[in-house]
């Protein structure tokens, strides 16, 4: 068989463009067709990576935001009128909202599998609701002045906070908030960007936000992780005595570690914004006040150390029974409402109404 395919000995090989020349156009056409079909297919892995992989989605988002901003969702006139007419008003009080990520997932509705990431469209609807309902965003510095220096807050004051300084939130939320004339504060993980530059917002991006009225505050440097806490458990860095060399660190060592972390966090936030950091938010909301601790004395130590470094300290305690922040609220335990990514704008509004109706010292109708 092979012998039959090989040219017979002594017989010259046919020239390359010899007898096959008449089929050359067909070969070229086939090559072009294959190329044309293969070209879009070669893009497929990139598309799948940018669409379904978390890191790929973030890279795609970075590229997209280089050219265009996020689309601002709009509320219908009936919804807007409903929020305007029915929202309760309060004075001399504050609602603090907590967000983490703002990004579209790959589901049809844009929702994310993570419970800390709100879809961009839903975030847009939420802030439109806040706007229509007459809520007024304030800065952390205004809150500090109100709680400690006799300053005042506008009616229906709301402080929007973003924990971690994630790139998705910093790329999507600021354009939407700017469009509506609203500002927010970021609780920054110092040193996060060099370790995960796609996941965390770049220093340039964050500094740019400070020029748009955003505030950079402290969240962590080393503290956004867990530590070995004995019995094979791992607990939040700020809420547990560390287990090392077969024993728990002493309370003095724990206190020193916490103090160093708080100061480092403050310095990281200050160096980023160029302004003093006045507020701190516990990583994972953990400071020994719940079951995520291995020593009941930690809560008191954490609060004492945090008070010494920051005028304002934010928690995520008591989500089910959250109260309006007033001047009587302990400034070292300011509760924040974690905005559930699954809430519709109406559900979010209802949650705020319940909080205001039940706990505001005085209530009235805004509309």
């Amino acid at each position: 068989m092979i012998r039959r395919l090989l040219p017979a000995r002594g017989r010259p090989l046919p020239p390359a463009d010899g007898p096959d020349r008449r089929w050359g156009w067909a070969r070229r056409a086939a090559a072009w067709a294959t190329g044309l079909i293969a070209l879009p297919l070669s893009v497929l892995p990139f598309y799948l990576y940018g669409h379904y992989d978390r890191l790929g989605q973030l890279l795609a988002l970075h590229m997209e935001r280089t050219f265009s901003g996020p689309e601002l969702a709009t509320l219908g006139p009936a919804e807007t009128a409903f929020f305007q007419r029915n929202t309760l008003g309060y004075r001399d009080g504050l609602v603090v909202l907590l967000f983490h990520g703002v990004m579209d997932g790959h589901s049809a509705s844009g929702e994310n599998p993570e419970d800390t990431t709100i879809a961009t469209r839903r975030f847009g609807e939420d802030v439109q609701m806040l706007r229509a309902a007459g809520f007024n965003t304030v800065s952390v510095e205004q809150v500090d002045a109100w709680m400690h220096h006799g300053g005042s807050l506008p009616r229906n004051a709301v402080l929007m906070t973003f924990d971690d300084g994630r790139a998705d939130a910093m790329l999507n939320a600021p354009p939407i908030l700017s469009e509506l004339g609203m500002g927010a504060s970021v609780f920054l993980i110092g040193g996060g960007y060099p370790e995960a530059p796609v996941y965390y917002a770049s220093p340039d991006l964050l500094r740019g936000l400070t020029h748009k009225g955003w505030s950079i505050q402290a969240h962590a440097v080393q503290g956004h992780q867990s530590v070995a806490a004995g019995d094979g458990r791992r607990l939040p860095y700020m809420a547990a005595r560390r287990w090392a060399d077969g024993q728990l660190e002493t309370l003095d060592a724990f206190r020193a570690r916490i103090r160093a972390e708080l100061i480092a966090s403050r310095d990281a936030a200050r160096s980023m914004s160029g302004r003093p950091a006045v507020a701190y938010a516990w990583p994972f909301g953990a400071y020994g006040a719940d079951s995520r601790t291995n020593d009941p004395r930690i809560e008191a130590i954490d609060l004492e150390e945090a008070r010494a470094v920051f005028p304002l300290v934010f928690t995520v305690d008591d989500q089910e029974t959250l109260a309006l922040v007033t001047r009587a609220t302990d400034p070292s335990r300011i509760p924040r409402l974690r905005v559930d990514p699954d809430w519709t704008a109406l559900e979010f509004w209802r949650r705020l109404q319940l909080l205001i109706a039940a706990t505001a010292p005085e209530v009235s109708r805004v509309g």
Partner: protein, 342 residues
Amino acid sequence: MWGRTRDRLAAALLAAAVLAVLGAVLLSLGGSAPAATGPPARSGASQVMALLDAHPAPAAHWALQAHLDTVSAVAPGWLTLDGGRGTFRYQTPDDATTRFAARGALVAPVLRDPAGHAGRLLRDGPVRRMLARRLASALAALGTQAVVLDFERVPSAARAAYPAFVRELRAALGSGGRIYVTVPAAVTRAELRAARGYDFRDLARPATLIVRAWDEHSSATDPGPVASLAFFRAAVRLAVRRAPRARVLIGVPTWGWTWTADGRAARATQAQLFPAARPRALLDPDGARLAGPEPGATSWVESDRSVQLKLLVARNAKVAGVALWVRGGESTRLWTQPLMAP
């Protein structure tokens, strides 16, 4: 000849077509009634209200889940007055209650006053009116227009202010608003004196009364029945004498107490106490008395028979319905008997 036959044929066809259309309409109506998403069938005008703790035990949810077709209203203890300024603590709706509401049960959150703020608050007109507005808004945010006001100690000084508050709340809730007010089962002279803060007649105009026909004996008393039959009858008689029957729900106890030798008492469920009860004790119309389980301890528990008799008293009194605490651990027989008149 042919023309007459043709006319008859046409008439028959027309009649058949009309019957077919009618049949289809009736079938579609009949088919839509038991739709899974519609509210479950309720027994006439009788109401059965299930009272729930703020954080009910899973067993309570399972019991309700299984017997929701018997229950017309669910009253979770979500709201608690926490000061004289009319603010209150709240719980957000849990998934189970949301499911109950989706199945057609009326959700009427309970506003409690364990610290006794109500008296002072009710007498302060502006604060009272503010509370009415707050409560109406909070209920709207919770997705309901119904509430149970469970103020256990209203002083006589607030006798006129309490109905005024209920009227104000009724106005704030709008036309769909439904208010239930718990009132004590005042039977003895001392109890009647203590219940002077409750103007049954005036309260029953804008609201439905829930008579707390229990705690004849409790942690604050010597051992005895939770509600003897005589006590229960008297409570019902006095309630219907002072308020329209259609505005009265009777609270029926379904639990027991265990008093230890050192004078302490703890609430116990029927499921906990029934196994230790002698069969004969379970026939006592006042509830079953048990010795133990610890030495020197005494328990009293509502038996199936005592609950059955109380329900009979309520039915015979022709009141609007009954209210039951569902904490889990209630006897399964509770749900297999008619809770109110069909």
